[in-house]
């Protein structure tokens, strides 16, 4: 079935079809319509879930942690400052190895108050132990949420997954999306089997004091799971591709085979970059795109090209572009910061960035170099 709707409504539909038992969320622009739609599903009886209204995002994540610890599938969605308020609980969900799935609608961080797309909110959560997907279309938002549960609940992984997409550019833009039947989703997504649970018949304490050596083992176990997750994400994605006809990989390559320069971008900028690459190819420029879809675990091995132009829609102040810094050592890299706070990055801007890189320039576009 083809559904034409915004990424937010598509995210709510995907979450509904994954059949979570508990949803706890707090509304924030531009995520609001995700939770509004989910609340509607629950209210109308179309989704058999407990919808917990909470007083903050910290509580939303705490409620998901509590629910997941009783062995049920959970879902939440947030954005920007909401995600930042969750930060402590994100670490908690990761170290407790609870396979919570969350949507984050990428939005800039204030002050100054800004509601437009910028990846700094979720990229600042990179060390919390969450797997991170970045979607470039409404279709991919749907597919990634279904895949996210399979990855998160895999017994070799047991880690929470965040699916992010650009505020407004995707969240409030309608696109056609192929939606499989509930039966097909159920076949792909069997019932959740928890690795541990809070059960009054078999009492345990979770999160008690842990001395230094076992603590380090817990951390190592999480790192091992992240390493294994790379393989599992690929397997789940391939299986999804066989069943539904769409797969994406950790990195999506576009016209890279003979490329002298490869543009590395994420999310909506990466979709726009495909247009720029088609234009540049028509002019005889040998340029391709490597779209970074999975940011954690970071596919450093999969992102090796002689010459790369990295466009970061996020900044680590005092160090520079975040993806650029993570890719250092993988080739000759030209680093550009662009599109912060929702500044539009059109295919023309991406073509200009390519020309600047060819001249050996890099920096903030268009603030420093233009």
């Amino acid at each position: 079935m083809i559904v034409i709707d915004t990424a937010n409504h598509i995210a709510a539909l995907a979450a509904k079809m994954a059949k979570p038992k508990v949803i706890a969320a707090y509304p924030i622009t531009p995520q609001t319509t995700v939770v509004e739609r989910l609340a509607e599903y629950v209210e109308k009886g179309e989704l058999d879930a407990e919808f917990i209204r909470v007083e903050s995002e910290h509580s939303a994540m705490a409620a998901c942690i509590g629910a997941a610890a009783t062995g049920v599938r959970t879902f939440t969605a947030t954005s920007s400052h909401g995600l930042l308020l969750m930060h402590e609980m994100l670490h908690w969900a990761g170290l407790a190895r609870l396979p919570i799935v969350m949507v984050n609608v990428n939005r800039a961080i204030g002050p100054g108050w800004n509601i437009w797309s910028d990846l700094n909110d979720s990229m600042a959560q990179r060390d919390t132990g969450w797997i991170q997907f970045y979607a470039s279309s409404n279709q991919e938002v749907y597919d990634s949420i279904i895949q996210a549960y399979r990855v998160a609940e895999n017994e070799e992984v047991f880690l929470p997954v965040m699916v992010s997409y650009d505020g407004f550019v995707l969240s409030h833009t309608s696109m056609p999306v192929e939606v499989p039947s509930q039966k097909e989703v159920d076949e792909f997504l069997p019932e959740f089997k928890p690795s541990w649970l809070l059960d009054v018949e078999n009492p345990i304490t979770h999160g008690n004091i842990v001395p230094p050596e076992p603590y380090m083992e817990i951390r190592y176990s999480m790192e091992e799971a992240m390493r294994k997750a790379k393989k599992i994400i690929k397997e789940v994605d391939e299986e999804y591709g066989k069943k539904f006809g769409r797969s994406y990989g950790l990195v999506e390559e576009y016209k890279c085979e003979d490329a002298d320069y490869v543009i590395v971008a994420m999310s909506a900028i990466a979709s726009e970059a495909k247009v720029a690459i088609d234009e540049l190819r028509q002019r005889g420029e040998k340029v391709g795109l490597a779209r970074l879809r999975v940011f954690r675990p970071f596919p450093k091995e999969e992102l090796r090209y002689d010459k790369m132009i990295v466009i970061d829609r996020a900044i680590s102040p005092g160090l520079g572009g975040i993806v650029y810094n993570e890719l250092k050592g993988n080739g000759e890299i030209y680093s550009f910061i662009a599109g912060l706070g929702g500044v539009d990055v059109s295919y023309r801007d991406i073509e200009r960035i390519y020309e600047l890189a060819k001249e050996g320039k890099e920096g903030w576009y268009p603030t420093e170099v233009r």
């Binding site: 190895r97 017994e155 047991f158 690795s195 304490t205 979770h206 176990s221 799971a225």
Partner: protein
Amino acid sequence: MKTAISYPVEGAMGKTGTWRVFKPVLNKEKCIRCWRCWIFCPDAAISRNDYPSIDYEYCKGCGICANECPVNAIEMRREEK
């Protein structure tokens, strides 16, 4: 998969009842069975029977029950050991 799970065993410091300095003692004649002590006990060491019954193996003697009792039916007595 490793995470911070612990199973119930006697702790290295023994049962928590051995930590007590003051012991709550219930006077059933004064008790009105309002169950405030049962509600407030932070260690769930008070259970509901005919009257509140205190599990001295786990009661740490914090005195919250005595403090909350509206009719002063719980007296905190110094442990004799």
